[in-house]
């Protein structure tokens, strides 16, 4: 039961984080007041 909750929490956190990263940079910068990045898959190191 505990394992299930932890696994579910990890899945929700991972999906949430990926969803957040999928938001276009400009909008993300507006929402965070300046912070942003290149998004999933970028290899530029930014």
């Amino acid at each position: 039961m505990t394992q299930g909750f932890v696994a579910l929490a990890l899945v929700v956190a991972a999906a949430g984080w990926l969803g957040w990263r999928a938001i276009p940079n400009r909008l993300r910068r507006k929402l965070t007041g300046g912070k942003g990045g290149c998004g999933p898959g970028c290899g530029c190191g930014d």
């Binding site: 579910l8 990263r21 276009p24 290149c38 998004g39 999933p40 898959g41 970028c42 290899g43």
Partner: protein
Amino acid sequence: MSSATLSAPGIALVGCPNCGKTALFNALTGHHQKVANYPGVTVERKEGALITPQGKTVRLLDLPGTYSLRGRSPDEAVTRDVVLGRLDGEALPDALICVADATNLRLVLRLILELKAVHRPLILALNMIDIAKRQGCEIDVDRLSSELGIPVVPTVAVRKGGVVSLLEEIDRLAAATLANAPAAVTWREPSSQEIRDAHMEAERILKACAFRPGDERLTARLDRVLLHPVWGISILLAVLFFMFQAVFTWAAPLMDGIKAAFDLLGSQVQATMPEGLLRSLVTDGLIAGVGSVVVFLPQILTLFLFIILLEDFGYMARAAFLMDRLMGGAGLHGRAFIPLLSSFACAIPGIMAARVIENRRDRLATILVAPLMTCSARIPVYTLIISAFVPAHDVAGVLSLQGLVMFALYATGILAALAVAWIMKRLVWRQVAEPFLMELPAYKWPRLKNVALGLWQRAAIFLRRAGTIILAIMIVIWFLSSFPGAPEGALEPAINYSIAGMIGHWIQPVLAPIGFNWQIAVALIPGMAAREVAVGALGTVYALSATGEEVGSALQPILAAQWSLPTALALLAWYIFAPQCASTLAVVKRETNSWRWPAFLFVYMLTLAYAAAYMTFNLATWVLG
């Protein structure tokens, strides 16, 4: 600025980038500067005032660096327009000071010859003369002055050296010619022949006035071989060939070590954690998924070790020179080489580097073919399939067959990029290639610190991706591959009944003609975020598909057992062309300021990928019976 200053004679500083022009501007004007932008462009305009020893006030304008008056980029166009008096709101300069980097006189001589053709009063400031002397380069200043027919003043701008002499020269110029300078100039763009003639003249003047230090003589001797039309190309091919051989042979022991470490970790977790969802997530999702990507770190670092060493040695610019004929034949601009070379690491910096190409169509062609160059994210996919399907045999006793296949995949990507560029530039846009001039640096021994830093940065980028995006995607894939569970009495592996299994089975009919099974279909979807994720996804999907004794074993033997050779070859062909990188599409949108070009890129690459995979699969099936 006072009205007296505004009516004062104006002198413009012109020079190649990084020649110390701004340092000289600061040395001459001190704090009397005004910084703004040229109207309509984001190019900085710096104007200042100076007072000569004879008390004359002169306006000094610091122009953006340029190699030529032909002006390809916005910066260079501003310099050309100001020098020629064509820029609205900017007066034609009464005189020009050309700032030259004395350590690289060859580069600026062509610009000086172009400036002379404008027929404005001209002074040459021979800057960084101290560094040139330290490097053993001796310049006969008087001879240079007489050859060029203009005053030459040696300067060391950062220490204000030669500034007084330069001010005195400005006074002499003011007394002699400034007031009589013509009110307008005439100039036309030189033809290719005129550019070649100017280059020959620059070489003649250089030979007459400058003594080459030993390292330049060595550079010239090496260049005679490395830039030779036959030997140069042969050596370039041999270097690339050796590089891909090394990627497979040198990295193997380290890869085995990493794989063994992940296997040990998986079995430890399996043994210590009680059975449950979290254990499945850790072993099948995180360790199998992330581990199957991280194992390729040694191969990526081996490849970048070569790239960094060749770059530091000064060979990459020679490779650009050797490739220019080939690229020009395909209709690509010579400046496209650097963006395309960057794309071997990642298409994103490559596409951004295409900003150096001014002509819109040249830039677009470069952006649209950059994703065809084999980026480092494809390496895990290529090496996984090659290791699983291509035997580790030697060819002719010395060459690894696996390395040969890898070399062929890279070569196919390059040839495809050239072919697409040729179709776009020559058949669709019908544009003629422009001449290309580039600076070849002197050969240098690579510095260990630079190499180590470059490799560390590459490793950090790769591991950060493995620890963030790939990790997160693996968790989501594990969820999609595990839920809903198998119904009571189900005979097939549970993943067949999961969401990922359903999606895979749903897409598989579209991919069946190219030989892809539903597991590949599942892996291709997250592979859209980043190509190498497909390898991790396959790791998770097959880990969850496996029955007891297969769990924890490497992905290569599983693929070798479950895929046919035509399927493996078709997947390699697919990955050469497939537009599987959302970030690349986003950057193309940003750089072209339109959704049209990323949409075009996606459609043309997907069409090529499907067609190549279809042909490969059917041809291989036919050949293998």
